[in-house]
């Protein structure tokens, strides 16, 4: 399974735009090439203020010289803490101009997290947005002995702060202007010193375990990856982008900083985090990124608003959304569509999709990305059906974002795309996705062991995610690598992937799949009382309790069909065909956090379930038709009791593995 996909290293390497290999050089380049075009916007006092590239250069020059006047030296780290503000973006490039290294920190970090990063990065300078961040910095300053100078952007509420290491942004700039007058040429000489291979930024990633790690990226990492994305998607200097995701997150760094500087497009900052949706509508970006949960919450808002809308609007919305679901995705993909549908879709565009996209601020979107977790296929298709070019990508901080991107015309809700330009991918024997690219980080700051663990000597980086490449060349991520096991025939077993497929059916509330070290896959099913109960009512099937309902032959039949459907899906995928569910049973009780079977966030505790229901698992892997179980349960009032049941074991149809034939 060592299939490697992507270009070999012999392929031509892309040139940074006009030979600019650092961001300060790109800034100067943009100021010369498109000096009077807007580089940044920010909504302030209710009005969009904008700065041209030339003005940004002027601001950055003053700031860089000012920080130098305050004592910033080459190699010093500059912590940057706050919401997306033009001045904070300028701080990044200003620091880079004089050899400093920006270290953006998540603005919602609590003081302890902030202390860790500042101390670990050995930041000497900090740029804070406002009083709130300054208060946190003052609280932790004793724990960060290296921190010497703190600059603040917004002076609101700061007039009684008298510490001499605090300097207001404007003050720094005016000192910088004086410094610039006294040392003309200093700025340009400093900018020229840096080379593409030099460190450009530390991005701290909050790992799921342990302390955050500082990912060190070079200018070349960021610029080449950004430029590859620009070339791949055909982005131009005319894009409009709203910077609203944390500056400390690699995505924002590539989209609203790297790509903006490389392509020369304008980035706008919202008025406040609460006004993002409103500002989005006013701005109408052409290029947009949002994690799945944001797309999901926008959709929910739309649906709720539609429930409140007038009868006519509601009818129209549902009628035309049905049209869009039928043909919108195909129209966007440029596939043939019957002329009648095409006409209806055009009418819908006029009456529903257009106004809707306008209200959401999506009218002008040419390219929208989502990434980070799996997006629900219905949510994904909703936006595509509206004609919004939403794509998935797969990336990581260690890759300077892009690992795979869905190419135009090859968009699928359940894959994350093909390797991005200059990216090579291979799948390790344990199913883990490995990649190699020009965006591969230099190291984890001050953690050589962690670096060695993640990045092999020959440059392959472990993502920690398990996945496989389909016949269409698209990567499919199935689980965290550590959760993936193996069936006895050596094929991959990704329990969460299978369980999610089962839970997609409304009648199935929870599922637990077994198969690691077994010959085949078997599963426990929890039915959804509400969904199955209402089915039973509709069909006049009497039942007295959850246990009775779960044991009904009709219910077994429903579940069996669903399992078979999942098997059919799995069989189309050569990598997962052997993960088809042979036998299943419907549990007589709901898995419950009170019984320790679920976590409080309703995630299955696999090990506990396996121990507790061992007889059931044995039954699943035997030839028995029924199996007896006796378990302890906790009632709602806290009393304990025992529950015993004879459970039927269902067998589901399995299918011949057939490779995907559909042309992509």
């Amino acid at each position: 399974m060592n299939d490697v996909v992507g270009p070999k290293s012999s392929q031509t390497t892309r040139q940074a735009p006009d030979g600019c290999d650092t961001f300060p050089k790109l800034l100067i380049h943009n100021a010369e090439k498109r000096g009077d075009l807007p580089a940044m916007r920010e909504k302030d006092l209710g009005i969009w203020q904008s700065w041209t590239w030339r003005e940004v250069l002027d601001q950055v020059r003053a700031l860089a010289c000012g920080m130098t006047a305050l004592g910033l030296k080459r190699g010093d780290k500059v912590a940057i803490i706050g919401d997306n503000r033009p001045r904070l973006y300028w701080t990044m490039v200003a620091a880079q101009a004089v050899g400093g290294i920006p270290v953006p920190i998540y603005q919602d970090s609590v003081a302890d997290e902030m202390a860790f990063v500042i101390d670990h990065a050995e930041a000497r300078f900090a740029m804070a947005e406002d009083q709130e961040q300054i208060d946190k910095l003052l609280e932790i300053k004793d724990r960060c002995p290296k921190l010497e100078q703190v600059i603040f952007d917004d002076s609101r509420g700061m007039r009684h702060y008298r510490q001499d290491f605090l300097t207001e942004f404007d003050e720094v700039q005016s000192r910088g202007r004086a410094f610039d007058r006294d040392n003309p040429g200093f700025f340009d000489v400093e900018v020229a010193k840096a080379k593409g291979g030099d460190v450009s930024i530390y991005l701290y990633t909050s790992g799921t375990t342990g302390q955050p790690k500082g990912v060190v990226l070079s200018f070349e990492n960021v610029i080449r990856t950004a430029q590859n994305g620009i070339d791949f998607e055909g982005l131009t200097a005319d894009e409009e982008m709203l910077a609203y995701l944390p500056m400390a997150w690699v995505g924002d760094h590539i989209f609203s900083y790297g790509q903006s500087y490389c392509a020369g497009f304008c980035v706008s900052c919202p008025e406040s985090s609460a006004t993002v949706m409103h500002d989005l509508r006013e701005l109408g970006p052409t290029y947009f990124f949002a994690p799945p949960r944001i797309f999901e919450s926008i959709l929910t808002t739309v649906m709720i608003r539609m429930e409140d809308a007038s009868w006519l609007k509601r009818k129209m919305f549902h009628a035309f959304m049905a049209v869009a679901r039928r043909c919108g995705v195909d129209i966007l993909a440029g596939r043939p569509v019957p002329p009648g549908d095409r006409l209806l879709y055009a009418l819908g565009g006029l009456l529903v999709y257009g106004p809707l996209k306008n209200t959401l601020g999506f009218s002008r979107i040419r390219l929208a990305y989502t990434a980070g977790e799996a997006i629900g296929p219905d949510i994904f298709d909703f936006y595509r059906a509206l004609g919004i070019n939403l794509k998935q990508l797969y990336g990581s901080t260690e890759a300077s974002v892009f690992i795979t991107i869905q190419p135009d015309g090859e968009i699928k809700p359940d894959t994350v795309g093909k390797p991005a330009p200059e990216v090579e991918i291979k799948i390790a024997d344990n199913g883990e996705v490995l990649f190699k690219s020009p965006g591969v980080f230099l190291e984890y700051y001050k953690s050589p062991e962690a670096t060695a663990e993640t990045k092999s000597a020959d440059g392959w980086v472990h993502t920690g995610d398990a996945g496989f490449l389909g016949d269409d060349g698209q990567l499919k991520i199935i689980d965290r690598a550590k959760d993936v096991g193996k069936l006895n025939d050596g094929s991959l077993f990704a329990p969460k992937f299978i369980e999610n497929k089962l839970k997609f059916f409304p009648e199935i509330k929870e599922a637990v799949a077994f198969g690691d070290g077994r010959d085949h896959v078997a599963a426990f099913i929890n039915i959804d009382l509400e969904a199955v109960g209402s089915w039973a009512e509709r069909h006049g099937v009497p039942y007295g309790s959850y246990q009775e309902l779960a044991a009904l032959p009709e219910v077994y039949e429903i579940v069996r069909e669903h399992v078979a459907q999942v098997n059919r899906d799995l069989s189309t995928d050569p990598h997962l065909a052997s993960s088809q569910i042979k036998r299943f049973l419907i549990l007589h009780k709901e898995l419950d956090a009170d019984d320790g079977e679920l976590t409080r966030t309703r995630k299955v505790r696999r090990r506990i379930v396996a121990d507790k229901y061992l007889p059931l698992i044995d039954g699943l892997y035997s030839d028995a038709e029924r199996v007896h179980i006796d378990t302890e349960v906790t009632f709602e009032d806290g009393r304990k009791g025992r529950l015993s049941a004879d459970l039927k074991i269902g067998a589901a149809e399995t299918y011949e593995a057939e490779p995907l034939k559909r042309a992509s």
């Binding site: 006092l45 209710g46 609101r156 509420g157 007039r159 009684h160 702060y161 008025e271 609460a274």
Partner: protein
């Protein structure tokens, strides 16, 4: 943190021998006190102690039967609400009094009514000086919106806002009047801890940045002791104590009447 000591100025408002009764019920009995320039004065006391009545007397909603009010040295028997407003006294209400049908922006804009100078013909034509004036007012309002961090609800009809935000809008409208004296009637009632903290910060910042004198009624003793320069304690229409927060806290009368007894 080295706080700069703020300077409390001369007397801004002085009430002398105020008595107010409704029918037979005596709401205020011979109350006298002063409000000094730039200070934050808290009026506390149990329910029914006459706190709100006191504010209503100051801005002219109630007319006391006895006593005088001197504002900026000018003594008068009764205040009229619109005259009080013209002279620079703004207020908020215990049970929010906003223009429910208007947006946040329009509500705060009404606070500028008294500052609008151009005659109505100019305004009607919305031309020349009137337009310029409108822009100036709008800029001022935007600064308040920024100050109170309510950008996101600029265009929202206030009736739809949650309680805490309505209180903030009400404060915004009072600030739009650029008052010299700001009367706040339970500015933090019904708020959660976070909203209270925000409101405290706004009150302190208003006092600090604009030099506005503030008299407020509040139930939350922690808040009162934290933010006020001076505290007056009322009980059954009488004044029990008047002094710095620490003095008041130590005052035996106050402890007996108010602080000692458990109170929500």
């Amino acid at each position: 943190m080295s706080q700069v000591q703020k300077t409390i100025g001369d007397t801004l408002l002085k009430v002398e021998g105020i008595s107010l009764s409704f029918g037979g019920v005596k709401a205020l009995a011979d109350i006298s006190f002063e409000i000094k320039q730039h200070e934050i004065l808290a009026i506390i006391g149990p329910n029914g102690a006459g706190k709100s009545s006191m504010l209503n007397v100051i801005n002219g909603f109630y007319h006391p039967q006895e006593g005088t009010i001197s504002y900026r040295g000018e003594a008068r028997r009764r205040m009229r609400p619109h005259v009080a407003a013209k002279q620079g006294i703004a207020r908020t209400f215990q049970n929010i009094a906003l223009f429910k049908g208007m947006s946040t922006l329009d509500n705060i804009m009404t606070g500028r009514l008294l500052k609008m100078r151009r005659n109505f013909l100019w305004q009607a034509l919305y031309w020349g000086p009137a337009q310029r004036e409108e822009t100036e007012h709008r800029t001022f309002i935007e600064k308040i919106i920024d100050f109170l961090e309510i950008q996101a609800i600029r265009k929202t009809p206030v009736g739809r806002l949650p309680y805490g935000l309505q209180k903030r809008v009400e404060l915004g409208r009072a600030l739009a009047m650029e008052p010299e004296l700001l009367l706040l009637d339970e500015p933090m009632a019904g708020m959660n801890v976070e909203e209270k903290e925000d409101m405290c910060r706004f009150i302190l910042d208003v006092n600090d940045e604009f030099g506005t004198t503030i008299a407020l009624i509040e139930h939350d003793m922690g808040v009162v002791m934290d933010i006020s320069d001076r505290v007056i304690v009322l009980d059954y229409g009488r004044k029990l104590a008047d002094g710095a927060p620490d003095e008041v806290r130590a005052d035996q009368h106050v402890i007996d009447a108010y602080l000692g007894v458990s109170h929500d």
